[in-house]
Each structure stands twice: as structure tokens, then as C-alpha cells.
């Protein structure tokens, strides 16, 4: 057994986290910053955090993930990291020449109390920031929140640093896609384009973390929201923020700063959430939904009605990030599956309430861990088995020990490809998710059916 020390008996823990279902803020900030065109993320702290974040993102995307670090040593930890950051800014602009440096802090620089705007000001005064280039920042101490809040903070920094109102409203809609994959961002854009809506999508990691093999490496590839676009977010008609936790803060900041009204929606994963998104976009932009989109919706629904018998009543355990879990649980409930163990490492009362509502009609006891960890998750599964697991690659240890079908979903996925190319948002994304769930369930059925009931047609 891979997790041989996990027993059924649940001991109450107050201090020890075992097999976390979250990670730390800066990695989310780094990911968000990669969604700005020409941006080099910078980790202000010791170099280990940066090495870990880059490695983890690289394993997940199998793409170059560049970021710099202040490389604190003991001295910097005692006297503060000003000298390190000023030198880093100088070196980065001289050697790599990005448009933007997006600084995020780490536990170390936060504990020291380094003031990033003040240090950036010093770099500016020393002439280390070339004309027309920017240094932005987000505070991301990991002793609060999680990678999701780090993403939210850096996304919000994009607004705080760049958004301005010219006094002239444009016809554009801001869409903050949330902490989703580059493929998802691409899909959200495609839906908007299909509907004839002009949008500014930020951050946008498509064509950054799913770029083609061209035989050429560019540190700053074609993708990413441009600084110019970010500036004009303040003139947009409306903001649609997808995912309360990851996108809410930036959307509200745009409202306060530039009076761009916002609507906060669930991530468009599954039928209902996608319906809500498409409908909101239609209303915000005053367009009608083209037949092509309605057809996509119909196809997705068709899969559900055709294959309903295989979904119906199946129990699911899922772990991941709050915004995803909300939409995913709702989706599963909508196809008559039963999400019964739901765990996120990111703390949040609102999340729990929301999941309770969504799972209200599930005819089974529902366990919600927020925050919980994967050790507890596993113990719940041992006590109350399920038919399907959904979560990141770490869940495969549980899947193998308990011999339960498993669909990879979330972050990080280090052992399969697909997430960066094929979306799970929108109707097409929903179709992909349905296919994945069915594959997992039906492969299992094929494996386990007695010979006489081994079915050719399913």
C-alpha cells in the first residue's frame, strides 16, 4: 500500500497537516503574472521558494516557467531585502529586458516586513527602471490563504497598478477567468469571440503555458494580456469575474477605482455555470447568443441524457480549490451524481455554506473539509467508499490503494497531459469532463464485469 499508515480511525488534529490540499500563495501569484505579456515574475525572498514554484509549475505545464528571485542570504534576512531587490531589478531589465517585473513576496520577506513599493521607488530613483517599463507587486505571505489567494492578489495588482479611466467608456467587457488553465482561458475567449463580444481577458496564460514547439525559445512569448489592455480595463463596460475567490478582489477593485460595475459568477464548469456565464455575457454585451453556442450546449446535454444511467447515483469524492469545487459539485449534482466528500485546503466559511446548498438534495451524508487535507479526505473515503475520485495527481495514491476510478482535475497534474490544451470550462469543456468521467467509470465496469455480462454496447 502506498499510503499504508492511513487508517479508518479519525483522530482530531489541530496542529499537524498531513498531505495538504493546497499550497502557498506565491505560486498562484507567479502563475497569474505569467499571464501578463512580457512579464517576468520575481520572487522576493530566498531562492528556494522560487525554485520550488517554478519546478511545480513546470511539472504541471511541461513548459518553460521563468522567474527571478532576490536570493536572500542570512544578511538580507536580518537587514531587509532592499539591496537584493534593487540589484535584481537592475539585473533583470539589463539582461532579460521584460516589459513588466511582477514582484511577489514570500513568507520570509513578509516576516521581515519589506515594503515593496518603497523599494521599487528606490530602484526608480536610482534609475534602474527603464522608461516605459513597470515594476508591480503583490503581497503573498503564505501563512494566510493559499495559492488561490496568491493568484487573486496578483490579479488584483494588475488592476491597482494599471487600470485607469480615460472618461470614455468602451464597448469592451473585462473577463477575469479565475485560476484556470491556459486552455480554459482560450476557451473563454473563443466563446466571447463566437458571441461577437469584445473582451479584455486578464490574466491570460494561453500561448504562454501551452505554446507550440517551433524550434525557437522566446522568454516572452506571444500570449498574455498587454499592459495597454490592462490600462484600458478601467474603461470597459462591465467586468465578469469568474470564481469568487480568485477573481472577486480584482473585479471589486475595478469597480471602486474606475467605476466599472462587476458581476461575480461561478467558474463556467458544467451546464448550469456555463449557462450562467453565457447568459451574463450576452446581457452585459447586449448581444444574442449565436446558434453555434446553443448547439454546443445541446451536444453537451445530449451526452448527459444519452449516458445518464452511468452517472446516476454514483458517489464521488473530490478535492481541489474552492472555485473549482463549487462549480464541479454543482455539475455532478446536476447529472445526478453524488459528491459526498469534498475537501479543499483553502479555508473559507462561505465555501462551506455554498457547498451545503449545492449538495442539499444529495441523498447521502456529505463531508466538507474547508480547510481539510488529503489525509482526512482519504480517511473519509475509507469510511464511506465512493465510485469515483477527482483531484490532482496526488490523489492517484489513494486511487491505487483503494482501487477507485480516478479523473485528474485541478493543480498540480504532474503525470498526464491535456489540461493545458483541452478546456474543462464552457460546453466543450463540459463535454470533455463528461467523457473523462465516463471513460473512468466504464473502463472500470469493463474490467470488473463477469464475462457473461461484458458489454459490447454501452
Amino acid at each position: 500500500m502506498l499510503l499504508r499508515h492511513t487508517s479508518k480511525e479519525i483522530v482530531n488534529r489541530k496542529a499537524l497537516t498531513i498531505n495538504p490540499a493546497k499550497t502557498c500563495q506565491p505560486i498562484g501569484a507567479m502563475y497569474a503574472a505569467l499571464g501578463i505579456h512580457g512579464c517576468l515574475p520575481h520572487s522576493h525572498g530566498s531562492q528556494g521558494c522560487c525554485a520550488y514554484h517554478r519546478s511545480t509549475l513546470t511539472r504541471h505545464y511541461k513548459e518553460p516557467v521563468m522567474a527571478a528571485t532576490s536570493s536572500f542570504t542570512e544578511g538580507a534576512s536580518v537587514f531587509g531585502g532592499q539591496a537584493n531587490l534593487v540589484q535584481a531589478i537592475d539585473n533583470i531589465f539589463t539582461i532579460y529586458d521584460p516589459e513588466v517585473i511582477a514582484v511577489h513576496t514570500t513568507c520570509l520577506s513578509e516576516t521581515i516586513g519589506d515594503d515593496i513599493p518603497q523599494i521599487a521607488g528606490k530602484a526608480q530613483a536610482d534609475g534602474k527602471i527603464p522608461a516605459g517599463k513597470y515594476v508591480i507587486h503583490a503581497n503573498t505571505p503564505s501563512y494566510t490563504g493559499s495559492h488561490v489567494t496568491g493568484f487573486a492578489s496578483m490579479t488584483r495588482a494588475m488592476v491597482d497598478y494599471f487600470a485607469r479611466s480615460s472618461g470614455q467608456r468602451s464597448d469592451r467587457i473585462n473577463i477575469i477567468p479565475g485560476y484556470v488553465e491556459p486552455s480554459d482561458m482560450e476557451e473563454i475567449r473563443r466563446i466571447a469571440v463566437e458571441m461577437g463580444v469584445r473582451i479584455i481577458l486578464f490574466p491570460d496564460t494561453s500561448n504562454v503555458l501551452n505554446r507550440p514547439q517551433t524550434g525557437r525559445y522566446e522568454m516572452f512569448p506571444k500570449g498574455g494580456v498587454t499592459v495597454e489592455e490592462l490600462m484600458s480595463t478601467g474603461d470597459s463596460r462591465t467586468t465578469l469575474a469568474l470564481g469568487r475567490l480568485a477573481s472577486g478582489s480584482a473585479a471589486r477593485a475595478l469597480d471602486t477605482r474606475c467605476k466599472v460595475p462587476c458581476e461575480i459568477l461561478d467558474l463556467p464548469i458544467g451546464l448550469n455555470a456555463t449557462d450562467a456565464f453565457v447568459d451574463a455575457l450576452r446581457k452585459a454585451a447586449a448581444v444574442s447568443v449565436p446558434d453555434t453556442i446553443t448547439t454546443e450546449r445541446g451536444r453537451m446535454l445530449d451526452i448527459i441524457t444519452d449516458m445518464h444511467q452511468y452517472f446516476y447515483g454514483k458517489k464521488v469524492a473530490l478535492t481541489g480549490d474552492p472555485d473549482q469545487l463549487v462549480s464541479l459539485s454543482e455539475f455532478l449534482v446536476s447529472i445526478d451524481m453524488q459528491p459526498i466528500h469534498i475537501v479543499t485546503g483553502t479555508p473559507g466559511k462561505k465555501f462551506e455554506t455554498r457547498i451545503r446548498e449545492i449538495t442539499g438534495e444529495v441523498p447521502h451524508r456529505v463531508n466538507i473539509g474547508a480547510p481539510g487535507d488529503m489525509f482526512l479526505f482519504h480517511q473519509w473515503i475509507k469510511n464511506d467508499p465512493v465510485d469515483l475520485l477527482m483531484g490532482n495527481s496526488y490523489v492517484k495514491y489513494i486511487a491505487r490503494d483503494e482501487d477507485i476510478p480516478f479523473v485528474r482535475f485541478g493543480f498540480p497534474i504532474t503525470d498526464r497531459i491535456g489540461h493545458s490544451y483541452f478546456p474543462t470550462v464552457g460546453y466543450r469543456g463540459g463535454m470533455r469532463l463528461l467523457e473523462k468521467i465516463l471513460d473512468a467509470l466504464l473502463d472500470r465496469k469493463d474490467r470488473d464485469s463477469p464475462e457473461e455480462s461484458f458489454e459490447l454496447v454501452m
Binding site: 499508515h5 498531505n19 525554485a51 513546470t58
Partner: protein
């Protein structure tokens, strides 16, 4: 980026003026940075017998340069103690550091029975919250240790400090001591905060000190076997240690402990009963060997199981140490029985790889050791360097007295070790040692990477992203070896990239069978046709004139 140095046409490295390359790289940097990098980018000795040049290593990383280095915690928890399966390793700090070092290093372990302890698949963290940072985290740490004990009842628990812990002044060692007394199991802590050193290397040292102080020497049970050794600095990535154990077992050599691939707490505690310490990765572990020699009288030798030739050489060296003709014969027999399979694949692969070039920038020993494997299939290493090694790993141990101990190194405690009153037992007497030396047997020898490399090769310490890109553009090597962070940028440039930390899910590459795996892997990588598919047909010939297939 300007390409001032003439790009290499193909496999003609000798045409490139390394001085120009070096200068061009340095020219890109701000003056201060250029001055520092100039000491870390050197051209290997001028040729024939000349001494190797001095290189700066193990010094601070330049902020903002885009380094590939990691931190002290990664070296301590991730590298040295991570591979031990039966210790509950608790990371004391916010959640990230523990999360990232969870199962990501591929050090395999094989518990002997299904009931045996194995915590490697688990990640334990105190997940410190704001109030712990403000009011101190000792209370939470204590509670976490207690909870771990209550749930798992392990034989040992260790605690690893991450950056904020040192800063807020949590006394992890006192917590460990108190909990050890309270619970009656071994509990020890490491002050391995990320900022403690300039790279992972500081963490290795801290880990070594800790294991040596708290574990080695606790159990005097002697493993059976006439020739007993410890394998130090072998982390069982991709099963390397399994292959090495297989070979040693065939030779009749007993491995008392491995530091730390596939290791257990018990192995560490009776490591002092072995009769010889053999060192694979000199960088990460020579400290333990030195201390074990002083305290227990176990001599150490440098060995290398990377490369079939190196493996044979190593086996002979071990046999020579034990001075037993029976063992010497056995070793020859094993080499003879293993080599035909190796040679068959080697020759076959060599025919396809001969003359191709490789670059290796990784770790603290691998960038050296793997050159041997490439040499065996006729490939040439044109440039290499370490990520976190020290000068002796480049220039050889004879320069040890010349290394200046700077403030960053002084940070790390040097243990004062004395012979153990009961357990000190010199394995060889002075006469024997002298005779062996006279006969050319070398203890504590490591000549470093540079003397093993051809003249006129570029040696770069702590290579930056920019330097990596330029090297590739200029030299166009057939393969580049480094780690995960570099991998995809290099491959996007059309150069196959082999990870030598994680092996890209491959391995083992050590020993005889490992060599075969590596030859095949490199053959696959440098000879695949897939790289020629980068250009689409319409990119190769963009002209639009229509030609019909049936006309052609």
C-alpha cells in the same frame, strides 16, 4: 539577442574561440555582475598537463540573474532526509515548502514487508498561520509532534525549519529535546532555513551534522558479511541504489547503510559498524565520511557507479581495500559476467552517437559523473558546471586548504568530532595505510571535474538562464543535461534535454544495467527524427505555385 559570436556550423566546437564566447556573455551583464561571473566562467586548462584554473563556487547567487539553485531546506529535507522511509519528517513552517518537497524527487524506496514503515508518500507540515508567526510557532510544533506520534507511533520524528521559523526565533531544538524525553522516541530538529546558505549545499551539511549527531552510533548490531561498506551520497533516484546493491550483493559485499537512498533509520544508526565508507556524491556527503573516520576509524574512498567502466573500477577499488584475493577474484568474475551485455548495447549505440556533443549543468557531482557515460558512447562534453558544488568538486581536494571560508559558510556549524571512547576502531593500522598508499591506493581522493575534462572546455558555475541560452545558440550541442526548470526552454530551442536530477521518470542509470539504460536513452534522444519535424512543409517551401500530385 545579438549573435556576435559566429554560430557553430555543426560539430566543430574547436573552431569556436572560447574567450570570445566568455567575453560576449560577460558583456551583457552590469559591471559588478560581470566581475563576479568572470570568476565563475572559466576555460579549462590550456591543454596537456597544465594545472586546472581556479573557479569561484559556493558563493552567493546574484539576485535577479535567474538561477537554477534551490535552498538549504531543499538540500536538507529534500535531498538528504527525504529518501529515508521510516522517519516522520515534519516541515515546520507555512505549507508551501513541505508541499513542494512532497514526492517530487523520485528517490525510490522499497519497504521489506507490507507492514514496514514507509512515510515517503506522506507530507507533514505545521502549516503555520499568521498567529503562529506573530506569537511564535513552538506551541503548534509541539502539538504537531504529539499528533504525529499518536497517529503513527513512528520510531523517529525529525523537524525541518523553513525561512520564517528562524526569523521569529522558534527554538526547534528545544522542542525536539523536550518531546524526545516526553515521548521516548528519537526526535531531532534541523535549522535548515532556506536563507542559511547560498544553495542546497548548506542544507546537505546541516543534514549530515544532524544525522551524525542524533542517529549514527545508536545501534551496535553488526550486519553479517565479511566485507561491509556504507554507500554515501547515493539517493536512489530512479532505482540507482537498487542496481548498485544488486551488483554489490553479487560480489558478496554487504551494504550496511546507504545515505540515503532506500534507507531506514536503523541503517543510519548502525552505519558506524561498516568497515569502509564509499562516497558517490562527494559534494553532499563528504562531511559524514570525514566525521565517521575521526570518531569511528572508518576510512573513506571516492567511488563512482555512473558508467560501466567506472563501476568496474569502483568494484576493483573496493576489493583492493579489503585486500582479500577471494573478493578480488569474485569481483573480476562479476565484471566479466556483466560486461558482455553492456558492451553489446554500448557498441551499437556508439556507432550512432560517436562524436556528438553534450553539455551538463547540474547538481554537485552528476555534471562530472555522467561525462563518463557519454564518453563510453563516444560523445564529448564541451561544457559543464555545477549548480551548488564547491571549488574542490571542480578543482580537486588538494585545493581544500586554499578555500576561503566566507561569512555564508561560517554560518553552518562545523562539528568538533573526537574518537568515540568505545567504538573507535581503526580499520587499518598506520602501516597498512602507508603500504596501500605506496602501492598507489588513494583514500579521500577526489580530483574534481576539471582535471577529468578535456582542455579548452568551458566550465561555468551556477549557470544562469541567459548563459544557458547563449551556450546552446553558439554550440548547438546534441544534448543538454540539467533539471526540470531548464528542460522546456532548452527543448523549445530544438535541443533534446535530459534531466539528471529526476531522470525524466527514467533510470536506473547507475551500475551495469543502468549504463545500458542510459546508452539507450541517449540514443533515443539524440537520434530521434522528431526534431526534424519542427518545420511544416509550407514553412520549408513557402512558394505558392500549385503542383498536382498526378503531375509530379
Amino acid at each position: 539577442m545579438a549573435l556576435s559570436v559566429k554560430e557553430r556550423p555543426d560539430s566543430e566546437p574547436e573552431r569556436i574561440d572560447l574567450n570570445d564566447v566568455r567575453q560576449e556573455i560577460l558583456d551583457r551583464y552590469p559591471t559588478k555582475v560581470a566581475r563576479k561571473r568572470a570568476k565563475q566562467i572559466v576555460i579549462n586548462r590550456a591543454g596537456g598537463g597544465a594545472e586546472v584554473p581556479e573557479i569561484e563556487a559556493n558563493t552567493r547567487t546574484i539576485p535577479g540573474i535567474i538561477t537554477q539553485r534551490g535552498c538549504t531546506y531543499a538540500g536538507c529535507k529534500g535531498v538528504i532526509l527525504g529518501p529515508t522511509r521510516d522517519i516522520v519528517n515534519i516541515t515546520h513552517g507555512p505549507v508551501g515548502c513541505g508541499f513542494y518537497s512532497w514526492l517530487t524527487r523520485r528517490n525510490q524506496t522499497r519497504a521489506s514487508t507490507p507492514e514496514d514503515e514507509n512515510y515517503m508518500t506522506y507530507c507533514f507540515s505545521t502549516d503555520m498561520q499568521e498567529e503562529d508567526i506573530v506569537f511564535g510557532g513552538e506551541k503548534k510544533l509541539r502539538a504537531a509532534v504529539l499528533e504525529a506520534y499518536e497517529i503513527f507511533r513512528p520510531k523517529a520524528i525529525s523537524i525541518f525549519s523553513t525561512c520564517p521559523v528562524g526569523l521569529i526565533g522558534d527554538d526547534v531544538h528545544t522542542v525536539a529535546r523536550e518531546m524526545k524525553e516526553h515521548l521516548g522516541i528519537n526526535i531531532f530538529a534541523f535549522s535548515c532555513e532556506g536563507y542559511k546558505g547560498v544553495s542546497q549545499s548548506a542544507g546537505h551539511h546541516i543534514a549530515n551534522n544532524g544525522i551524525f549527531t542524533h542517529v549514527v552510533g545508536l545501534d551496535d548490531t553488526r550486519k553479517e558479511g565479511k566485507y561491509s561498506i556504507n554507500l554515501l551520497g547515493e539517493y536512489n533516484i530512479g532505482g540507482d541504489a537498487f542496481e548498485i546493491e544488486r551488483i554489490l550483493h553479487r560480489c558478496g559485499i554487504t551494504v550496511v547503510s546507504t545515505f540515503s537512498g532506500n534507507s531506514t533509520y536503523t541503517q543510519f544508526s548502525n552505519a558506524h559498524t561498516a568497515d569502509l565508507n564509499t562516497i558517490m556524491c562527494h559534494r553532499s556527503i563528504n562531511y559524514v565520511a570525514e566525521m565517521m573516520e575521526t570518531r569511528y576509524g572508518i576510512p573513506w574512498i571516492k567511488i563512482n557507479f555512473i558508467g560501466a567502466g567506472a563501476t568496474a573500477k569502483t568494484l576493483r577499488k573496493i576489493a583492493r581495500y579489503f585486500e582479500d584475493p577471494e573478493l578480488a577474484d569474485r569481483v573480476e568474475e562479476i565484471i566479466e559476467s556483466e560486461m558482455p551485455d553492456v558492451e553489446k548495447v554500448r557498441d551499437e549505440v556508439r556507432a550512432r552517437c560517436e562524436g556528438k556533443s553534450a553539455m551538463l549543468f547540474v547538481g554537485g557531482s552528476r555534471a562530472h559523473h555522467y561525462q563518463e557515460l557519454f564518453r563510453e558512447i563516444g560523445m564529448i562534453t564541451v561544457s559543464a558546471g555545477y549548480e551548488f558544488a564547491h571549488r574542490d568538486d571542480y578543482e580537486g581536494r588538494n585545493i581544500l586548504p586554499d578555500i576561503r571560508v566566507d561569512a555564508d559558510s561560517r554560518n553552518i556549524e562545523e562539528l568538533h568530532v573526537e574518537p568515540d571512547p568505545e567504538r573507535y576502531r581503526p580499520r587499518k593500522n598506520p602501516e597498512e595505510l602507508e603500504r596501500l598508499a605506496r602501492e598507489g591506493f588513494r583514500f579521500k581522493d577526489y580530483d574534481g571535474m576539471m582535471s577529468d575534462m578535456p582542455a579548452r572546455t568551458l566550465i561555468i558555475d551556477d549557470i544562469s538562464q541567459y548563459e544557458t541560452e547563449r551556450l546552446i545558440e553558439i554550440f548547438k550541442p546534441a544534448i543538454f543535461c540539467a533539471a526540470i526548470k531548464e528542460k522546456y526552454a532548452i527543448q523549445k530551442k530544438g535541443i533534446p534535454m535530459k534531466q539528471l536530477h529526476s531522470y525524466d521518470s527514467g533510470g536506473p542509470y547507475a551500475g551495469f544495467r543502468g549504463a545500458v539504460n542510459f546508452y539507450r536513452e541517449i540514443d533515443r534522444m539524440v537520434n530521434t527524427k522528431i526534431w526534424s519535424a519542427i518545420k511544416a512543409p509550407w514553412q520549408k517551401s513557402p512558394e505558392l505555385s500549385a503542383g498536382y500530385a498526378w503531375n509530379a
